[in-house]
Symmetry: C2
Subunit: 410 residues, 2 copies
Amino acid sequence: MRIMVQKYGGTSVKGLERMRLVLARIQKAHQEGFKVVVALSAMSGETNRLLDMAKEFSPNPDPAELDVLVTTGEQASVALFAMLCKDAGLRARSLLGFQIPITTNSNFCRARIMDIDTQRLRGLLEDYDVLVVAGFQGVDCLGRLTTLGRGGSDTTGVALAAALEAEVCEIYTDVNGVYTTDPNLCSNARKLDRISYDEMLEFSSMGAKVLQIRSVEFAKKFNVPVRVRSTFTDDPGTLVTLEDTEMEDVLVSGIAYDKDQCRITVRNVMDRPGVAAAIFAPIAEAGILVDMIIQNTGREGRTDMTFTISRGNLDKTLAILEKLKPEIGAAEIQHDTNVCKVSVIGVGMRSHSGVASMMFTILKKENINILMIATSEIKITCLIEEKYLELAVRTLHDAFGLSQAPTPAC
Amino acid sequence: MRIMVQKYGGTSVKGLERMRLVLARIQKAHQEGFKVVVALSAMSGETNRLLDMAKEFSPNPDPAELDVLVTTGEQASVALFAMLCKDAGLRARSLLGFQIPITTNSNFCRARIMDIDTQRLRGLLEDYDVLVVAGFQGVDCLGRLTTLGRGGSDTTGVALAAALEAEVCEIYTDVNGVYTTDPNLCSNARKLDRISYDEMLEFSSMGAKVLQIRSVEFAKKFNVPVRVRSTFTDDPGTLVTLEDTEMEDVLVSGIAYDKDQCRITVRNVMDRPGVAAAIFAPIAEAGILVDMIIQNTGREGRTDMTFTISRGNLDKTLAILEKLKPEIGAAEIQHDTNVCKVSVIGVGMRSHSGVASMMFTILKKENINILMIATSEIKITCLIEEKYLELAVRTLHDAFGLSQAPTPAC
């Protein structure tokens, strides 16, 4: 049995005309001899409509009930699309998360998939040409509905492909694939034919909205080749796959950025063991993700601690720090929301040195001051003033020659 | 454990303000020491919105997928209402049909409840003050979603009350109770304090939209006292209950009518055994409900067959009859949509004769011609021209003295 998984995002299923395009793709795969498992998102706008409704009803909606509410979005998509499939003569049916089941933990609103009943799915694929699966949703071991977090339908698609050992997992969206950088910022951004899982992880963690980061982790873990492509064109898209030597020959694959940044500096805290833990443990307990952290070399028993968080968490974080002031002996707490992150990403960095200093030189030429630096094996990130964002991205994109397809090394 | 079931219709849950009224009622019951099981409909308008969407996608939507689609309406209601309950400090959660489960047969779009897992519900009532159950929906033995037909939330409410042996089952709607006739037609219609199951069945089958007919059958079968009342007033409503001698003293309890009628006459069919079966079997197979049937005394081996159906089934029925013409030897098929049914209803008829002739006399006085007559133990129905409907209802209502509360017989 040849199995293909296709996942379609909200813009691809919004309305009858677009769903007909999706149907055409599925009929094609069916004619090519595939059993097709289709994971669908809610129609675009629907999840936000439901969240707004919840907010009207409750200032802080119960997460379990919120999941009961928002799963209706995907439920409507799969019902309508299964109708279309049946009218087109395909043996098709919808499947909700609990019907497979896609079992998750009980972490409502951001649950993790624990298990997919593969045997049941394979049994259904004997009887049906097309299974239309509701993305984003699962069920916990007590039978309560859960959701996988924003973009979770990507993870549903990849997890289904992994569980069924599908030949291909195609993620259909409204862009042609993964680009060297945001085409809205940089007109000569180039679509990548292939990208490694690790690079895609770095792109996703920078807020590039092509794939949910957890779906990439899943794909990497189970080695699922994922093709990101557009519902509306015939472009083959971008293949997210295992790293190979050809990829390593490319120094930098792309430039990512993140505007949702905010820098906090805690001045003159006591420079003694445990002070970092004293600051960051309460922040972590509040569910706030800290990104970059810098601790200056201390002077006279005192040091400065600087870190970044997303802007939505600023007020909560400041309140926590204010309470901690006496305990950590901090003199002052400063914050700055006019900052952003810009990163160069590439698996080639693993074997090539000098990328970091090239990046700093390029930024310096444009007189862009670097506020913080963080590095990983395949990424270098600089925090800069937000007003320089577009300039930094375009300059780095040009300087690393990303608008040109790389020529294979001889 | 004192258990109360309350069911709220679509107008009672449409929007935050109305749901707050529902919440107040539930808090009151909770304070009185009840565990409350609340069955909710979809917000009014929502089911129609979903059905219209389905029609846009498919001329004849797959019934199983239609159920997946329309169940989202109740799902949204229960999630939002459970949020409200939790914010109000009640221990509450939502329950979908499959989570209880409410098991039905697989007759999609008009399924029947086969079983309710009472033990599980009682277990949940140990942990929760309020269980918010999605009305209208169930799950078949294969785990597919089903719905109970229009008005099915009433049946959910009554079935839950029966399964849990609840003290009371209150059906909240936007009217104060059951009236002697439609108050829109007859300004001196009087609200009934009590009505028997059998009378309520006749009212419901006549299209009075107060209770789904199946919920009344259920209530009768399990002897569940049902109180029909308004969410928006403090009126105690109407108690639907077992017949007692006091009720039998009342000759006529109410006047019902049904405008959705259409009369078909098949002229000059062969008057031989089996001709009725030959006509009505194919109509029944097409899922069309035939209501009144009259076969005239035959002459010269020929007879006329007259019957009524709902107007929506006219074209389908005529097509079936046209095909049958040669087989049944019919000369002509006539139809008339300008007709309606009017009925007098009362358990008192069981022990009092003469109601039928009183009805005929009253109609004759107003020069209203009777086209067809049908009788049951507690109902007399006349088919009349539609233009006389209001006149007939008002005249019968007055003549049987229904605007006055009955005085108990000495």
